[in-house]
């Protein structure tokens, strides 16, 4: 499902974000990638969605060799992977419903199908009564739910979550993590990047620890060790 083989990423002049990282994530897993700020966690996500080219090694996700992907194929890759971020990345001038529908519109989905899928995913994330609200009219937790709904519209086999609770209070954090667990239960592989110790320890799932760009620990039922 996801493979990183001897992946290194060096930023100019000589900053090593990733150093010979090798890992393998199987379908249906819930994996947390942890580490302190600047250890290369986000670089892993960026490499997986084709936002950053790695300096050496091989990155494979859902059958795509991202290290060899053509620029024109990147949009197609991104339509098959769900991604959520700490800053939600919602379009501010579109309401929540339009934000979610947009992910379907860009790949030419028929309006009839969009009208069926969007209310369905909004119900899954519990936003069915806030469809017409704009991002600045809802809480951070609700914005993150909308971002998750948008990530789910293509029924992705993989969901990448880059610090999804970084901007949320503990109550909203719990809700979002529960939602990710629910999505994982349906069979979606979830990769959670975080430095939230409590979240990782509560999950009791596989934990991959990065430190200064190197993979230092990979535990099946791990804890936050740093």
């Amino acid at each position: 499902m996801i493979k990183l083989l001897n992946v290194s990423k060096t930023y100019q002049p000589d900053i090593k974000a990733l150093n010979q990282v090798t890992l393998h994530i199987k379908p249906g897993e819930f994996v947390s990638i942890v580490g302190q700020s600047g250890t290369g966690k986000t670089t892993v996500i960026k490499a997986l969605i084709g936002e950053e080219r790695v300096s050496s090694g091989k990155v494979i996700i859902g059958g795509w060799d991202v290290t060899r992907i053509k620029p024109g194929d990147v949009p197609f890759l991104r339509r098959q992977i769900g991604v959520i971020f700490q800053d939600f990345k919602l379009l501010p001038k579109k309401n929540l419903e339009e934000n979610i529908a947009f992910a379907l519109q860009v790949c030419g989905q028929a309006p009839k199908k969009i009208k069926t899928i969007v209310p369905h995913v909004m119900k899954i994330v519990g936003l069915e009564d806030k469809m017409r609200r704009y991002p600045n009219e809802v809480s951070g937790g609700e914005q993150q739910r909308a971002a998750i709904a948008r990530a789910l519209v293509h029924r992705p086999k993989i969901l990448l979550a880059d610090e999804p609770t970084g901007n949320l209070d503990s109550l909203n954090t719990k809700d979002i993590i529960d939602l990710l667990l629910k999505i994982n239960k349906f069979g979606t592989t979830v990769v959670l990047v975080t430095h939230n110790r409590e979240v990782v320890n509560r999950l009791k799932r596989r934990v991959i620890t990065l430190d200064r760009g190197c993979l230092i620990s990979d535990q099946e039922c791990g804890k936050y060790i740093l």
Binding site: I49, G72, L77, R78, F102, V106, A110
Partner: protein, 303 residues
């Protein structure tokens, strides 16, 4: 394909409406730019009319002997009329010349009194000759100098040569200044448009990044900006047309008062060349907008 086009137009209209202040600023800049271009064109038309009206007033006077026979005069007139450079030859008799002289100096009793004391009409009959083009006066004068006729009294055209040289110099300077000012205005317009679109896209850079992240293709991201810029251009042009014609209506009476005896109709000029003037402006501005949009989107959409 059709569905994508409809969505692109919808997103573009939504974008214009939801960023209404930015849209208004962009259209205002376009209106100012287009108004400047059209003002420049108006100045060009007026200066051309001014030069033409001066050229209209230039003629050559060929003075004839007072006692010339009519057939000699007609022969000279015929010869001059047959030159390819000649547009018009008019014969003014002694009597007609006297009438004009009296009319011209009716407010100057001293001159009229002096004329009376002569007891005779001292004026000579004249042939008033006009060339087809101001550039042809040189060769026309040369040909007139070659005519051998007992009816001709005087053919001194040196004053005309000086005036013609001066007018030629003024025409060349006006054209040169017009070309330089036009070039400056075109550059300013292009810069204004390019920068306003750059600002618009810079403001949207986060949005463009998000579009890329959810899998929007290059064309799907760029097209709404191109459609928006075409709509801005059209809106700016329509607004300029709506403002410019009433402005010309206000200007016209002043032009008529200034160019007496010369028919200048600036409104007709813009009406008769409507498609050429405003069509070209739309195409040029739309092309500048499109290129600026493409450059700006490409710059800010590398995600």
């Amino acid at each position: 394909m059709f569905l994508s086009l409809i969505r692109v137009i919808k997103f573009s209209l939504q974008d214009i409406y939801r960023n209404i202040w930015l849209s208004l600023v962009t259209v205002t800049i376009l209106i100012l730019a287009l108004f400047s271009v059209n003002m420049l064109l108006t100045v060009e038309v007026i200066s051309r009319a001014a030069i033409d009206s001066v050229k209209e007033k230039i003629d050559i006077n060929l003075y004839l002997k007072a006692d010339s026979r009519e057939e000699d005069i007609l022969a000279v007139k015929s010869k001059v009329s047959n030159f390819e450079e000649t547009r018009e030859v008019r014969y003014i008799s002694k009597e007609e010349a006297m009438e004009k002289f009296n009319e011209k100096h009716k407010g100057d009793p001293e001159i009229l009194e002096a004329l009376k004391e002569l007891n005779d009409n001292p004026l000579t009959p004249t042939l008033v000759i006009r060339a087809k083009d101001i550039d042809q006066y040189g060769s026309l004068i040369a040909k007139i100098n070659d005519i051998d006729s007992p009816a001709i009294e005087s053919r001194n055209f040196n004053d005309h040569k000086t005036i013609l040289k001066k007018i030629d110099a003024i025409t060349a300077k006006v054209s040169e200044a017009g070309a330089i000012i036009s070039l400056i205005f075109v550059l300013i317009t292009a810069l204004l448009v390019y920068n306003s679109i750059r600002v618009a896209i810079y403001i949207h850079r986060r949005e463009i990044g998000i579009m890329r992240l959810v899998g929007a293709s290059n064309s799907f991201i760029k097209m709404p900006y191109l459609v928006s810029s075409a709509i801005y251009t059209l809106a700016g042009l329509l607004a300029v047309i709506a403002v410019f014609f009433p402005f010309l209506g206000l200007l016209q009476p002043y032009l008529e008062a200034f160019f007496i005896d010369y028919n200048i109709d600036i409104i007709s000029y813009f009406s008769n060349n409507f498609l050429k003037i405003f069509g070209l402006q739309f195409l040029a501005l739309a092309a500048v907008n499109a290129i600026a949009s493409l450059i700006a989107v490409s710059k800010y959409s590398k995600v």
